[in-house]
Amino acid sequence: MAEEHDILNIEDLKVRFETEDGTVYAVNGVNLRLGYHKTLGLVGETGAGKTTTALAMLRLVPDPPGVVECKRLEIDGQDVRGMSITKLEQVRGKDISMIFQDPMTALNPVFTVGQQIAESIEIHEHLGKAEALEKAGDMLEMVGIPRARANEYPHQFSGGMKQRVVIAIALACNPKLLIADEPTTALDVTIQAQVLELMNELKEKYDTSMIMITHDLGIVAEVCDEVAVMYAGRIVEQGSLEEVFGKTMHPYTEGLFNSLPNIKNRTAKLKPIHGLMPDPTKLPEGCPFAPRCNYATEDCRKAVPELHRASGTHMVACSAYERDKNFMIDRRKR
């Protein structure tokens, strides 16, 4: 059955931080729509504005110094912008829940892991203590930790186990949308593989929609249906996994792929993107990627390119396509 709204609908999100050293333009006009039961990969390098975008969805951007503007911010059809704090607290956890970048700081060292999972269940499901603890045990088992260990404290768990507990807390109330901010960056690869597999399973089982924030294109290929690539606070390319990986359109996305060692061709030379990310307090005029772009012309430095539909669901913000209908990026040439 078709729903009449999406799980997430954001229009023209802007976030800036007014600091002593100037105004940081962290998010500069992001539009995002996500359908039910889909997983979106939000990709980009440090400082691209991924975390800030996620925090804005939950209305958790620190204010001050943060200033958030947005034409639309709907989660599961509800307008989050003017919501009262009480209502907002219900939405967080129940409808939308977030796994933060650092699993180690997300847990409270003085409570057992069982208590911490139960607490979130108590708040959102209005269950009694005993029932909540019981369900917390179920959740632990679901993430592959014996329920007998519910009485242990976070420091008794390894990094991978702590991250599983964080996932258990985030999923305890069956949120409709789960935002995972680099959930495996701090983990070893074999543990990362286990955690990703677990997230994939749980997502299927509970029909959760998900936003996976990561800088790792390998993880995107593994868990996402859709991809949005961010650069300097803007989405520069967006589409299905097949579209973005199979027919890369934005020069920045191409640069990301070319910077990665190719596991199947170990001697292939890396082609880094030259230069650096722009200073977010002094964004260049025009396309923010232009100073690092091999295809840029004078025109690129004049106006910020809008995100245009190229084909299907594939969107790109690059004026090369407006100048030349036949412009193409061929990643296989590398």
Binding site: E45, T190, A193, H215, D216, G218, A221, F245, M277
Partner: protein, 324 residues
């Protein structure tokens, strides 16, 4: 005959802890040919950094021999060691904390040249600093800036310039790109490769990133809890991993490609503690192939299973007829 710059024999480094001896590095053996790169990979805490530091004697090894340029480093006097140290440098993971925040770029790079009295004349020293900055791709205008004013990539370039200042023969690169974004990571990896070619450097390249190590190394040694479990030329290791841990590790790499079919080698259970570890295969507890009778009988030894390919799995050794 291979021209070996370094030979490590039975290297051990134990740390005393309140719960007993922690076997951080436990009987590591390898040789390294001049102008080549040995990649050391493995998961957090397996002893990569400790190995690197013990080789440079930044940490005093518990036991073992380190033969550098034919000389046993343990047998050198303090002054001899001081001379030798010039030839061996290290680049750290964290360009943020490994540089003195109170010194300028110029002072940081010049420090080893000054302290070791390589160049005593101030002007000549400054000339050398500029030359080093150019070598690592740092624009001259940064000469008087402080590390905190620079981004991670440039800070790592300072670390590299400082290591190069002594004209070393061997550089231990301890996760030199792990803290960097991919686009900057690629810039630094290319720089390190170019420098190796130009200056004839030998590297020990420590990382937990398998696609990086594959790209960068000639030989790869896979470590698990203080021991080398497999060592082979990079291509051979990736094409034909033999140790179950190597297989699991390689199959866990997320590949940024469409429709990549993986056959993941699953792991189970708990990680063995490095404190007073039992006299058995340290991977046994997580290994789905484990046969306790064989795997828990003794500490596995690294054996050559095919030319230049070493494996320390008693099961596989038995399968190949190397172990009775």
């Amino acid at each position: 005959m291979a021209d070996n710059i370094l030979e490590v024999r039975h290297l051990k480094k134990y740390f005393k802890t309140s719960r007993g001896m922690l076997h951080a590095v436990d009987d590591i053996n390898f040789t390294l040919e001049r102008k080549k790169t040995l990649g050391l990979v493995g998961e957090s805490g397996c002893g990569k950094s400790t190995t690197g530091r013990a080789i440079l004697r930044l940490l005093e090894p518990t036991s073992g021999e380190i033969i550098f340029e034919g000389k046993d480093l343990n047998k050198l006097s303090k002054t001899q060691m001081r001379h030798m140290r010039k030839d061996m440098q290290i680049i750290f993971q964290d360009p943020f904390s490994s540089l003195d925040p109170k010194k300028t770029v110029s002072q940081i790079i010049a420090e080893p040249i000054k302290e070791n009295k390589i160049i005593t004349d101030k002007l000549l020293r400054e000339e050398r600093v500029l030359e080093l900055m150019e070598t690592v791709g740092l624009a001259e205008r940064y000469i008087n800036t402080y590390p905190h004013e620079l981004d991670g990539g440039r800070r790592q370039r300072i670390g590299i310039a400082r290591a190069l200042a002594m004209e070393p023969k061997l550089i231990v690169c301890d996760e030199p790109v792990s803290a960097l974004d991919v686009s900057i990571q690629a810039q630094i990896l290319n720089l390190l490769k170019d420098l190796q070619e130009k200056l004839g450097l030998t590297y020990i390249f420590i990382t937990h990133d398998l696609s990086v190590v594959n790209h960068f190394s000639d030989d790869i040694a896979v470590m698990y809890l203080g021991q080398i479990v497999e060592k082979a030329p990079a291509e051979e290791l990736f094409d034909n991993p033999i140790h179950p841990y190597t297989q699991a590790l390689l199959s866990a790499i997320p590949i940024p490609e469409l429709g990549h079919q993986r056959q993941r080698v699953a792991l189970r259970g708990e990680i063995t503690s490095p404190i007073e570890p039992p006299e058995e295969c340290r991977f046994a507890k997580r290994c789905l192939m484990c046969n306790p009778e064989i795997c828990k009988a003794s500490v596995p030894v690294l054996m050559e299973v095919s030319p230049s390919h070493f494996v320390a799995c008693p099961l596989k050794q038995k399968e190949m007829g190397l172990l009775k």
